[in-house]
Point group: C2
Chain length 252, copies 2
């Protein structure tokens, strides 16, 4: 009679928290996107319900239905379940679903979301005020996304861009970069973090002026700095990128 | 010859990742704010260097100096080291410090930052675009903070407020709430998450119209929803608060 939404972090099980491990071990059945389930070691007595990436609503309602039948059900989410992921999908289904779903014990276990993992790889680009923005216009109109990019850049937030590109959304990331170029100097540091924690991980530092928008793909998280974000060159080591804790003045 | 900046998450060791555990075990010496070190189990052969909360710069340079002398040094940070915490302080010291510090192997291990832990406790309030803003005006001018609150509320970001109050900053949180009331309806859900993971944890749901600003303290993280954020009443259980993944239109 419980549903636990478990954040497993990005790419590698080294990001799993002790709490997430314990919650996984306690589950009778585990739902999730197939590649996320493939990362985990489940016992033979644990049911495995893999589904496609796009099926958040259907996956959430299947897991809720299963839990309402009396099982201890877990549903896993890459990164943190509360950041552009399964926890909101579960809440949406509970709100529109049968009353029995409101009686379930619902627990959310936080995880390392992609922007924290990417930031950690290159220093502290999120060291000052920042925002997280999904570039997917499947669930909101593009003009709203542009308005948020304008607001965030003008107010001096570091910007973490989730879901920059997909096969169905080829031009949005390029337009977002153009939008940010109208507010921020060409030297603004930009970080591309791809597949962090996976064998094919690639983290690259560039500048807003030099961004090649075709380098982002579905597995990429992009961090765009502010006017204050700094790059420290290091002989024989990759540079560190960080945003200072202090800001001296209104930065636009 | 290495410095590892380790995020230990909020309040309880259940939030430690496998990566953070391994990094702690590998350290010769561990630096950190005393209460953070008190949460961890260090071995007798590991040096323990506790310091006061305010001494970020001094703690960072002491740890860097120690690492440059050849030790494997760890410095722990509550939550995530990259979010209003030690990783930026370390980068600042490296930038102004001796050349030898740029030769060090610097590794940042991400952690569960407070907003993710608080959000998980009550549903998915960060389920849509959001920002994280420190209300401390020790390191930036108050007008810049107000400008960011205006921008974030007008553009429809969920807002996570770090450091809402301290003994030296008694009025700032109240002013921030007034600022947000000028943009958002009184019914906007607001979550106060205090000391998450600790025995004295308290998570409360209120509305922007009903916020009592004196309820926040130094250990509180506040999440202010958007016009879209919803509260699901549940018989016999605390409500769920979530922000839907979809936004139908420009929301102000």
């Amino acid at each position: 009679m419980s549903l636990t939404v478990i954040g497993i972090g990005p790419g590698d099980t080294c990001y799993l928290t002790a709490q997430a491990e314990a919650a996984l071990a306690a589950a009778d059945a585990v739902y999730g996107y197939g590649p996320y389930l493939d990362r985990l070691t489940l016992r033979a007595d644990q049911e495995r319900h893999a589904s496609d990436n796009r099926q958040e609503g259907a996956r959430a309602s299947a897991a809720l239905k299963h839990a309402a039948h009396g099982a201890k059900v877990a549903i896993v989410s890459g990164g943190d379940p509360g950041v552009f992921a399964m926890a909101a999908a579960i809440c949406e289904q509970i709100e529109i679903g049968p009353d029995a779903w409101r009686a379930l014990d619902v627990v959310v276990i936080p995880g390392i979301t992609a922007m924290l993992a990417v930031a950690a790889r290159i220093g502290a680009p999120l060291g000052h005020d920042f925002c997280a923005l999904s570039l997917s216009d499947n669930l909101k109109p593009w003009p709203l996304i542009e308005r948020r990019l304008d607001a965030a850049a003008q107010a001096g937030f570091v910007i973490a861009l989730y879901n920059p590109v997909s096969r169905a959304r080829p031009w949005q990331f390029g337009d977002a970069i153009e939008c940010l170029r109208s507010h921020l100097p060409p030297a603004t540091p930009v970080v591309f973090g791809r597949a962090v924690g996976r064998p094919d991980e690639r983290v690259e530092i560039t500048t807003l002026g030099a961004v090649n928008a075709t380098l982002a793909d579905m597995a990429t998280l992009v961090i765009v700095g502010t006017r204050e974000t700094r790059t420290i060159a290091r002989p024989g080591r990759p540079p560190l990128v960080y945003t200072p804790r202090a800001a001296a003045e209104v930065s636009v």
